[in-house]
Amino acid sequence: MPRESSSSTRSFVEQESRPPAPARAARAGGGRRPLVARLSRRLGRTATPYTFVSPFFLLFAAFGVFPLIYTAWVSLHDWNLLSSENPFIGLENYRELFTDGYFWNAAFNTLSIGLLSAIPQLALALVLAHLLNRPLRAQTLWRITLLLPNVTSVVAVVVIFSQLFGREFGLVNLVLGVFGIDPVNWQAGVGSSHIAIAVMIMWRWTGYNTLIYLAAMQAVPRELYEAATLDGASGAKQLRRITIPMIRPTIIFTVIVTTIGSMQIIAEPLLFGAQVSNGAAVTGGTDRQFQTLALYLYEKGFRSFEFGYASAAAWVMFLLVVLVVGFNYLVVRRMRGGLD
């Protein structure tokens, strides 16, 4: 700040820091201060921090909590997006949902794609971060390169990968052909489509997780590695015995974030299916081979306009996410490293 511009500010500060006579008198005889002043002072102290964090919570209340509760309310109705009358039907939507094979099919697909993408993705990220966590030339270049796939638009990624996984002219089938493997119709099969989608997800998110791991690894004391090197521990052993135990909180964090992310996958299957036909886009394949929960929700809510039913699905999906995240948390927390 240039000096001359802050002159008025300075005078304020001076005035504040040196309370004039009457104020000093009031402070000296604290007991005589009016009750209101004392209360407001206390309120000021306690309320200030909450006030500063309140914007987020106000916004969250308006755009997070309210929709959540309203969705629960909608889910109790036969609510069509277009009609003006939406009769209350209690838990009927939920009853129907639990017997809906397509919903459970979507739940299975979501879990399957989630597992297929998350586990290799995080393992690969860990190894990559470990490799990068040493003095290298052009470090920044490597790190930026890692993040590039994540910056790319998901549409671009899926369109390109759908071409790679194309039935007739796809590069993947071409390479498989070199090894004498028959071309795969990637969208047609359950397993093949899940693998294709998992690859797209891994492509976008591995680098991102690598950077998070790398940041955590840099906080691990170097002495541990030096001691281990002196004792003759290999790089792989150091990763397993030192790095992983030391960055476990970060691993827990990435597992939870990745789990939540993979429960919400929609763009990849939607665009992947659009390569087959218009109808197969929203159903995630002609036989719903790769329809995820989020895509199922979209189909019901925004193609069939059954908002009540879609809302019920949204709530069950929410509970499933909580369940899976909780399970993952427990698993990762129990994961024992070498040090303890």
Binding site: Q15, P19, S40, P55, A62, G279, S304
Partner: protein
């Protein structure tokens, strides 16, 4: 840093009444973030609610105040030159066109109608969706109130009826109709030793069975990597459109399982797949667009509006396409209505624009520009339509071909969830094509899926 933010008046108060400085400061310390938070919430809410582009105004007859009309379409309707003409009679009107993919367009429209904001002043609705929207007359302006019931005599009767709500209010004015024809590649037919003239080709396939037979002959002598047609989805849709009753009966019951015409269309489509005539390229996919350029298929079912699309995608094959009669008789596939949502702030001008864009003259202009075929029969016999040809389609007399196709048409009742039924059937054919299911299994699953559509 909080000090400069205090308003000038508060600052004076502070300077003079020094005793209260600390207290006021406390208050502002508390109030400023609260105020900021409230403002932030309010602005955010305002952004969500009032995203409509047109300014607040009565929308009454005052012709001097500037107003902006938005037109929501899926794809290019060839309206752009017409807007300029409309502006000549309405100098105060500005027109903005929005385009989206067909599915997205209708999803967005439904959402905007449900939330009461965000819809354009004039919204296009495709005929496959129109029956979902017409039962909701409270969401649309009844065009009768602007005297547009006078347009009834312009239209093919069934086209007019499609735009009406059950209570008789006028929801939409028709733009085009999709009379059926079959587009084919003369050069590929020649290579396969088939006749190439459009009358001879039409004579090859009065029925779909004969179309399949022709396909087999084609496959036997065709160039490698070229199949007879793209995929059976649109063909089956056309076959259903040719039947007197489609997937819905007149009482809006889904009759997929009981209508023999639907089953026959399914069986024929399956047979086409099993005979290896399909390139297995779904319509409207990226690979389909590539297929036009790569000669992946030699014929394609061709409602009038499709000609514009082919012209766009198959630029390299100009002059090699031609248009023959469709197997199996007349039918309609597609076509659109223009509606005015009730949330429009300028319903009068919007109705005038919809009226203008669908007028007989405008429809003729659109047809000549991009190929969408008029729904106003007065045009069909006019010489400039009858004699209208297209070089891209080897000089085919498109005006004559499509007016013949439409004139013989028997209207078919369309139900509210046409689109979903079509998706279920299309996915069934897709499963057969991908080899996931035997035709019987696929059909059984189609019936099960359709049963769940209420």
């Amino acid at each position: 840093m909080s000090i400069p933010r205090v308003s000038p008046s508060a600052r004076t108060t502070r300077l003079t009444q020094i005793t209260r400085i600390t207290r006021i400061n406390r208050v502002t310390r508390f109030a400023a973030p609260m105020l900021a938070a409230t403002l932030l919430t309010l602005t955010a809410a305002a952004c969500g609610g009032g995203s409509d582009t047109s300014p607040q105004s009565g929308g009454s007859g005052g012709s001097t105040e500037k107003i902006k009309l938005t037109v929501g379409l899926f794809g290019d309707f060839g309206f752009k030159p017409l807007y300029e003409e409309f502006k000549k009679t309405h100098p105060n009107v500005e027109i903005e066109e929005r385009q989206a993919a067909a599915d997205d367009h209708h999803t967005n429209l439904a959402t905007h109608l449900a939330t009461g904001a965000g819809a354009a002043d004039v919204e296009a609705i495709e005929v496959g969706y129109i029956s979902r929207f017409t039962p909701q007359p409270d969401k649309f302006v009844d065009l009768k109130q602007f005297g547009l019931d006078k347009r009834q005599s312009d239209y093919l009767d069934w086209k007019w009826q499609q735009g009406l709500a059950p209570d008789g209010s006028i929801i939409g004015l028709g733009t085009d109709v999709g009379g059926l024809a079959m587009c084919y590649r003369t050069d590929l037919f020649e290579k396969a030793g088939l006749p190439t003239g459009r009358d001879e080709v039409s004579a090859l396939w009065p029925t779909w069975e004969q179309y399949i037979e022709t396909g087999k002959k084609f496959a036997a002598a065709a160039p490698k990597d070229t199949k007879f047609f793209d995929s059976p989805g649109e063909i089956m849709r056309a076959m259903i459109a040719q039947a007197p009753v489609g997937v819905y009966d007149a009482q809006d019951n889904i009759v997929v399982g009981t209508n023999p015409d639907v089953k026959k269309a399914w069986d024929l489509s399956v047979q086409m797949i099993e005979d290896g005539l399909s390139a297995k390229i779904g319509a409207w996919t990226p690979e389909w667009n590539t297929g036009f350029a790569k000669d992946s298929f030699a014929t394609i079912i061709c409602p009038a509006w499709m000609t514009a699309y082919i012209q766009d995608q198959a630029k390299s094959a100009a002059g090699k396409w031609d248009i023959a009669a469709v197997p199996g008789g007349a039918g309609n596939a597609g076509g659109t209505h223009l509606t005015v949502p009730k949330q429009s702030k300028h319903p009068k001008e919007a109705a005038e624009l919809a009226d203008f864009l669908t007028s007989t003259q405008s429809q003729a202009a659109v047809f000549k520009a991009i190929g969408n075929f008029p729904s106003t029969p007065a045009l069909y016999d006019q010489p400039d339509i009858q004699n209208f040809t297209k070089d891209f389609f080897n000089g085919a007399p498109v005006g004559k071909i499509y007016s013949d196709a439409v004139r013989n048409l028997k209207p078919q009742h369309l139900g509210p969830r046409e689109g979903d039924v079509r998706t279920a059937i299309g996915n069934g054919l897709g499963r057969v094509e991908q080899g996931r299911q035997k035709p019987d299994e696929a059909w059984a699953q189609v019936l099960k899926d359709v049963e769940n559509i209420k």
